[in-house]
Amino acid sequence: MPESSSHDDFPRAFEAAFARLQVVVEEAYVSEAEWPDQVAAAIRAGFEFAASDPEAADLLTNRALAHGSEGVARYQRFLGFAAGLLLPGRKHSPDGELLPEIVEQSLAGGIVMLVAQRVDQGRAGELPELVPDAIQFALTPYLGVDWARRVASVQ
């Protein structure tokens, strides 16, 4: 059956979870000097956040999407935050001018969907193992398959 939920509590709970996630992801991102390493660190921090606090990850993904247009708007703001971390990759990409506008949004959507799926299935503990795959996925449009795989393999 659909989960019961309090619509009153959701906005506050979502914003609290989002703020905590932003702190850990941004700290990880700025701890590295080069953009590919910044993205790798941010993805690792995000996946570890979800693995250690699946309730918060569920709020940011599955429960947000279950809260109608208001929840969807919050979810899309969360994706926008993730997409913003990828945007500098265009400057590092030899193919930057070839990339369509939707790249960052699509990458963020693909990665977040993997997290949502694992959390929804009670398998959030597996997420840290999936970090190299997510890094490769995020970097490939900017660096190409081989370079992205090399970056992912050292993580």
């Binding site: 059956m1 659909p2 989960e3 599955n62 999407l65 279950a66 809260h67 109608g68 247009s69 969807v72 899309q76 994706l79 990409s93 193919d95 070839l98 990339l99 369509p100 506008e101 939707i102 790249v103 949004q105 699509s106 990458l107 963020a108 959507g109 693909g110 990665i111 977040v112 969907m113 993997l114 799926q117 929804d120 299935q121 999936l130 795959d133 997510a134 490769q136 996925f137 490939t140 449009p141 900017y142 190409g144 398959v145």
Partner: protein
């Protein structure tokens, strides 16, 4: 008689998909589905315990129909790349021509509870496996399974954005971008951009 009974059940399932796509899962009542199916409350409860039970059955049937259509359209497309192109184009065609189905499949399913979402995840996994099959036939190097899942998630997310923005009918115009998002993890940005250019 058996055919007639089946058709009544099918009518209710079709009505459920349409009404949920139009009104949203939470706002949909059994009465709405009964009216849309032009049937009776007695008939509804003959087949289903409640709205949720009916929705799950409707979702299963919808996934089977969409998947069967994609497989039928891709039949004969043995190489991986044409299969992905055709499969994606078929999905986009289905979603753009049936906006209510599209919203139910990708947007409203999230509100229908854990069992419904599990069906959605199963459908994503099935589609991912199907599209990956051609890649193996090509003899290409296999990507990690999770990257294929994220590629399907990327495409699904872009379609989701169009649906919630009320631009379902314009989905075919997004096809070049969707193709890029689907292909780039496999073939890299240069080749994916070339495919995108061809599709424009």
């Amino acid at each position: 008689m058996a055919d007639q009974l089946e058709s009544r059940r099918d009518r209710i399932l079709t009505a459920m998909i349409r009404v949920v796509g139009r009104k949203g899962y939470d706002a949909t009542a059994v009465a709405d589905v009964i009216e849309e199916a032009n049937t009776s409350r007695t008939t509804f409860y003959k087949y289903f315990e409640d709205k949720h039970d009916c929705f799950l059955a409707a979702y299963d049937r919808m996934v089977e129909r969409v998947f069967a259509t994609v497989v039928a359209e891709c039949e004969g497309e043995r190489p991986w790349l044409p299969r992905v192109r055709k499969g994606l184009a078929t999905l986009v065609e289905i979603f753009s021509s049936e906006p209510e189905l599209a919203r139910t499949a990708l947007v409203e399913v999230a509100a229908a509870g854990a069992e419904a979402r599990q069906r959605h995840w199963d459908a994503v996994s099935r589609l991912t496996a199907y599209l990956d099959t051609g890649r193996r036939l090509d003899g290409g190097e296999e990507l990690p399974e999770h990257i294929s899942t994220m590629a399907v998630g990327a495409v699904s997310g872009l379609i989701f954005d169009e649906l919630v923005a009320g631009r379902t009918e314009q989905l075919p115009e997004l096809m070049p971008d969707l193709l890029f998002a689907m292909l780039v993890p496999y073939i890299g940005p240069t080749a994916a951009a070339e495919e995108m250019r061809r599709a424009a």
